[in-house]
């Protein structure tokens, strides 16, 4: 009962936040509200006992990405407001996507159902085996670093490549200016 009440409270806060994101016209306001949105999401994950996911969501979603969005918004020219030009296509898109999602909900397994497909594949093996073999209590770490070591290597490389891409894109501006300056000197 408590679980349901907390979930209901958090999800209604989430809906209110979404409404204000939709209403807001200032970019910084939208960024702050998105931070609040992800923080509420991480509270929901804690309520669902997914502590690792909640931790990541709080650190990455509402921490770093909000800061980076604020930095990006600060670089935009001032005085420009977020004007929604034509709402009609986006409203149709949103309604159709939510219809599809509502149709799918009835096919999803119930929360905590032990016979859900996700709990029948390799997970029982991992949970049974990992504590005796690794002597590490956190199964998430075992799966992340050992059973799925290749995946995590790929994720690390993805982050590395993303960082490289941003560095190349954003510092090329200064490089261009330097070459322009050199060209002027030649002239």
């Amino acid at each position: 009962m408590n679980f349901l009440l907390i979930n209901f409270f958090l999800i209604s806060l989430l809906l209110i936040t979404t409404f204000f994101i939709f209403k807001s016209t200032s970019l910084i306001g939208i960024v702050a509200l998105t931070g609040a949105f992800t923080l509420l999401c991480s509270a929901i994950y804690v309520n669902l006992d997914a502590v690792d996911v909640a931790f990541t969501e709080a650190a990455v979603g509402s921490g770093i990405s909000t800061i980076l969005m604020v930095m990006a918004a600060a670089k935009l020219p001032e005085g420009k407001k977020n004007k929604l030009i034509n709402l009609f296509p986006s409203i149709i898109l949103a309604i159709s996507i939510s219809l599809v999602l509502i149709l799918i909900i009835s096919n999803l397994p119930l929360l905590g159902d032990p016979n859900a497909p996700i709990h029948l594949h390799v997970v029982p093996e991992y949970i049974k085996e990992s504590k005796d073999f690794f002597h590490i209590p956190n199964v998430v770490t075992n799966i992340l670093a050992s059973y799925r070591g290749f995946d995590t290597l790929g994720e690390t490389i993805v982050i590395f490549t993303a960082g490289l891409g941003v560095i190349v894109l954003l510092t090329s501006n200064t490089l261009n200016r330097k070459t322009k300056f050199k060209n002027k000197e030649k002239k």
């Binding site: 502590v51 690792d52 909640a54 931790f55 990541t56 650190a59 990455v60 921490g63 770093i64 800061i67 980076l68 930095m71 990006a72 600060a74 670089k75 935009l76 020219p77 073999f133 690794f134 002597h135 590490i136 209590p137 956190n138 998430v140 770490t141 075992n142 992340l144 670093a145 050992s146 070591g149 290749f150 995590t152 290597l153 994720e155 690390t156 490389i157 982050i159 590395f160 993303a162 960082g163 490289l164 941003v166 560095i167 954003l170 510092t171 501006n173 200064t174």
Partner: protein, 145 residues
């Protein structure tokens, strides 16, 4: 972008006080990831948050003297290479790629060593990539033409 975002003494004192505890919390999350929630990804982001806080309050120039840009870029590569290097080390020790069993005489402690090294690599890469993202956003100058 203004070099110094704020010159308020409250902000600078609070960020000086918070800097070390944030990094210690990051290290706790990094090395306690085997026992509780956490791991390399979260720890990297938390450590990066300390450095980003520092360069937000004291200006980008001071932040770049604390973490030089080139050192940061080398560390980005060091993290990925540490992860991949653990895999290659396990090949040289007659195992398969990223098979941590062979890293120690006992497979269980081998797994432990492997997981800690790999998570350290992830943490280093994530932290330095986040710092690099912040620095390149902050030093980016838009020409409003």
């Amino acid at each position: 972008m203004r070099d110094k975002i704020s010159s308020s003494p409250v902000l600078s004192v609070v960020s000086k006080v918070l800097f070390a505890p944030i990094i210690i919390f990051g290290l706790y999350v990094q090395f306690h990831g085997d026992y509780g929630p956490g791991g390399g990804f979260q720890a990297g982001v938390i450590v990066a948050a300390a450095f980003i806080l520092y360069s937000m309050i004291f200006g980008l120039a001071k932040g770049e003297t604390l973490v030089p840009v080139m050192v940061n870029r080398y560390l980005m590569c060091v993290g990925v290479l540490l992860y991949a290097g653990v895999g290659i080390l396990s090949i040289f020790l007659d195992g398969m790629y990223l098979d941590y069993n062979v890293l120690s005489t006992n497979p269980s402690s081998g797994q432990h060593i492997g997981i800690i090294l790999v998570e350290l690599g992830v943490g280093i890469t994530v932290a330095t990539v986040m710092i690099a993202l912040y620095h390149s956003f902050a030093s980016f100058k838009v020409s409003h033409e």
